[in-house]
């Protein structure tokens, strides 16, 4: 047991810089997950903590002890390698006995060793494989053996490099559930690396998102899910990925009655109100107000709710527009008005819901036509064309068919707004990430406009469209 503290950790391979100064504090007994795509530097971070990487800068402290110049075998850390790194010439039993026999993990009599190994292998469900060699195991069994070689011993820090990645889907879910309940895990500070966002959210006391050698965001699973620091984090979490729309900030008085700011997507299909605190933070960085600034709007597919099922009328489709109102209290603080500023709306597919019945006014409503309905068991993944914007939504409404007009609703607080840029490509955001604006997403209070406020009434829609066109 022991805390882990990393300050300004850098690492390079030749001329390639793998880590650009990582700062990290993991409390005693905490389960910290590092999430990132391939090549982000996850494994390098673990190996640096373990002392296995040369050319490392910065400071690593384990249990308060500075690890600079300390050999790996004196650091009292255990690591499960992604490649398992099981000793091919040793059986499962001998592999697990290896750390116990080194003499640096306490003294273990032969009887104690075999008792401990029996406990761990039983926990991991590989007790019947103890006499086998690694080459005689499946990948899943090898991975559990590698995990066993970590759990079998006491250590200050456990370093786990994608320990569940090679298990089949069912076993992975089961192991994920079991992993955190293991006594060893709950007692020992753990640094866990994965590229699976579900694993990160399910296991982590806290999650750090790593991108190209930098920690982009560190927070609880709730924080990284609900308040992604930028579009990169927003897209890392959730499958399907968050919908992102390039939008411009405009002073859209018709849409936002209380003199606030609105964000209208480039194709004009989506307009959201922007909290003034956000608009202000944009304005603060640019002289002459926020008008014309581009932003990104993010909406998770899961946050979208299908309001009405199949509707025969084409009328709704033609008027399929999205307007998000800006809370007046926030918009009011923008000097000279925020009109013309661009924002980016983020809505998670899961945040979109399919609704039936009258449209509630406390939500953003998107109308469009289903272009693709992928039935994935209980859930259906919808691609909806909303006035030219492709919106992904997830629903359990099995009645939705391709070609159907639908209305999608999302609570205001689940629309994310990121700094935009003319160059941002919402379809292929790789290599770029836009930072989140301000502290919160649009809120329902003061929200106005477009179809959202119009509750399906045609005039509201037209007004929104017209005023958008004027500016």
């Amino acid at each position: 047991m022991g805390s882990l503290s990393v300050r300004g950790l850098t690492a390079r391979y030749g001329k390639t810089v793998a880590l650009h100064g990582i700062d990290l504090d993991v409390a005693d007994g905490e389960f910290f997950v590092i999430l990132g795509p391939s090549g982000a530097g996850k494994t390098t971070t673990l190996k640096s903590v373990a002392g296995l990487v040369d050319a490392v800068g910065g400071e690593v402290r384990i249990a308060g002890r500075d690890m600079t110049g300390v050999e790996p075998y004196e650091r009292n850390v255990a690591m499960a390698f992604e490649s398992y790194a099981l000793y091919p010439q040793k059986t499962v039993e001998q592999n697990l006995a290896s750390p116990l026999r080194s003499g640096r993990t306490g003294s273990w009599s032969v009887a104690e060793q075999s008792e401990r190994i029996r406990q761990v292998t039983t926990t991991l469900g590989i007790e019947h494989l103890r006499g086998r060699f690694p080459r005689e195991l499946s990948n899943g069994q090898r991975q559990r053996t590698a995990l066993g070689r970590v759990l079998v011993r006491p250590a200050d820090v456990y370093l786990l490099d994608e320990p569940l990645s090679h298990l089949d889907a069912k076993l992975r879910a089961a192991m994920r559930a079991e992993l955190k309940q293991l006594g060893e895990m709950s007692r020992t500070t753990t640094l866990y690396v994965t590229h699976d966002y579900q694993e990160a959210l399910a296991l982590g006391d806290r999650v750090g998102v790593l991108r190209e050698g930098r920690l982009v965001q560190v927070g609880t699973p709730q924080q990284v899910w609900h308040e992604p620091a930028d579009t990169f984090v927003a897209r890392m979490f959730g499958q399907p990925e968050m919908n992102l729309f390039s939008a411009d900030l405009t002073a859209d008085l018709a849409a936002v009655p209380e003199g606030g700011t609105a964000a209208r997507s480039r194709r004009g299909g989506i307009t959201v109100g922007v909290p003034a605190s956000l608009a202000g933070s944009v304005a603060g960085s640019v002289e002459g107000g926020a008008a014309g600034r581009s932003v990104l709007l993010g909406i998770r597919p899961r946050d979208l709710e299908v309001l009405a099922g199949p509707e025969p009328s084409d009328r709704l489709v033609l008027r399929g527009r999205v307007t998000v109102g800006v809370p007046a209290s926030l918009a009011g603080s923008v000097e000279g008005g925020a009109a013309g500023r661009s924002v980016l709306l983020g809505i998670r597919p899961r945040d979109l819901e399919v609704l039936a019945g009258p449209e509630p006014s406390d939500r953003l409503v998107l109308r469009g036509r289903v272009t693709l309905a992928e039935r994935l068991g209980r859930l259906v993944e919808l691609s909806v064309d909303v006035a030219g914007e492709a919106v992904i939504a997830v629903t359990d409404d099995q009645r939705v068919r391709e070609g159907d007009p639908v209305s999608l609703a999302v609570p205001w607080q689940q629309v994310h707004i990121f700094a935009g840029g003319a160059s941002f490509d919402t379809r292929n955001g790789a290599g770029t990430a836009a930072a989140r604006l301000g502290a919160g997403a649009p809120v329902s209070r003061g929200m106005a406009a477009g179809e959202a406020g119009g509750v399906g009434k045609a005039p509201a829609v037209d007004a929104s469209a017209a005023s958008g066109g004027d500016r």
């Binding site: 190996k47 373990a50 296995l52 050999e71 790996p72 075998y73 650091r75 850390v77 255990a78 690591m79 390698f81 490649s83 790194a85 099981l86 000793y87 091919p88 010439q89 290896s98 750390p99 080194s102 003499g103 640096r104 993990t105 070689r149 011993r153």
Partner: protein
């Protein structure tokens, strides 16, 4: 038993048959000296230079080579020469392994500025013809009192065996994932113990293969012992040629018998570690 067809494998075609005939012809051509050698070693003294084929097999040549009669003819005891060769070659290979295995491990794991240059320098010992260094070596050996000693031969054979062992084993170590030793380090073992416990056992096939190759090269070396040994520590390669008679009578059938005896030890060694060899020679070349 059904067999999968290999890529590129075809049914019989005129071209394939033609190629086989050509290969067979080449096979006979290249094998003929060996056949001649065996025939010659079994011929009597009168038959050996006969201009028409005459053959009544006899093993007497082998007896002569190994007996005092052979020693009288050549002033070198062939049995002693065999022992000297075994001693020299086993000694040279052992020394090369003791120094070369850690060197190969370091070369395979530690990439530093100029590491490739060092490896190239080691390999370059094999480029130079032995004759190029033999004159200075002869002078040095005389000065140091190493002329005509086993220690001297073992030392000079390092030029033959060491580069071979270092180069072959380096690629074996490079093929081992470094995570294996890293896992051992984190298990609490020092670098030395990680090497001995994890890396070394895994390159055993490579050690067997490279040691055998080094042994054969050392065994067959001729120029170094020819110049650097006298009559008391003559190895077998030089002893064989003594039967051709330096200025005196040439005993062709005795030479053939001696050559066959001289070829037996490497053959026996190769057969005894064949199990490792086939795997070892391919393991380094093709990454699994």
């Amino acid at each position: 038993m059904t067999r999968e067809r290999q890529p590129g494998q075809r049914r019989f075609s005129p071209a394939a048959i033609g190629a086989d005939v050509l290969l067979l012809a080449w096979f006979l051509f290249s094998l003929f000296p060996l056949v001649w050698l065996v025939l010659l070693s079994l011929k009597s003294e009168s038959e050996q230079i006969s201009t028409f084929f005459e053959f009544t097999p006899t093993l007497s040549n082998f007896g002569t080579v190994l007996s005092a009669e052979g020693a009288r003819l050549t002033s070198v005891n062939f049995t002693d020469a065999l022992l000297t060769s075994v001693l020299n070659c086993v000694g040279a290979v052992l020394v090369s392994l003791v120094i070369g295995v850690p060197a190969a491990y370091a070369a395979g794991r530690w990439q530093y500025k100029g590491s490739n240059d060092v490896m190239f320098t080691i390999l370059s010992f094999r480029f130079a013809p032995e004759l190029m260094v033999i004159v200075p070596l002869f002078v040095i050996y005389n000065q140091l009192g190493l002329f005509d000693t086993n220690i001297g031969m073992i030392w000079v054979l390092q030029l033959v065996t060491m580069p071979l062992i270092v180069w072959i084993l380096r690629s074996y170590f490079q093929d081992l994932p470094p995570e294996l030793e890293q896992a051992a380090l984190l298990d609490g073992y020092t670098r030395k113990r990680a090497f001995l416990m994890v890396a070394l056992p895994l390159v055993r096939p490579g050690i067997a293969a490279s040691a055998l190759l080094a042994f054969i090269f050392a065994w067959n070396n001729y120029v170094f012992p020819l110049i650097l040994t006298g009559s008391s520590h003559t190895p077998v390669t030089v002893a064989v040629t003594r039967f051709l008679g330096g200025g005196g009578q040439a005993f062709y059938s005795l030479t053939a018998a001696a050559a066959i005896i001289a070829a037996l030890p490497p053959l026996l060694v190769a057969l005894s570690i064949q199990r490792y060899l086939v795997r070892g020679l391919s393991f380094g070349a093709v990454k699994a």
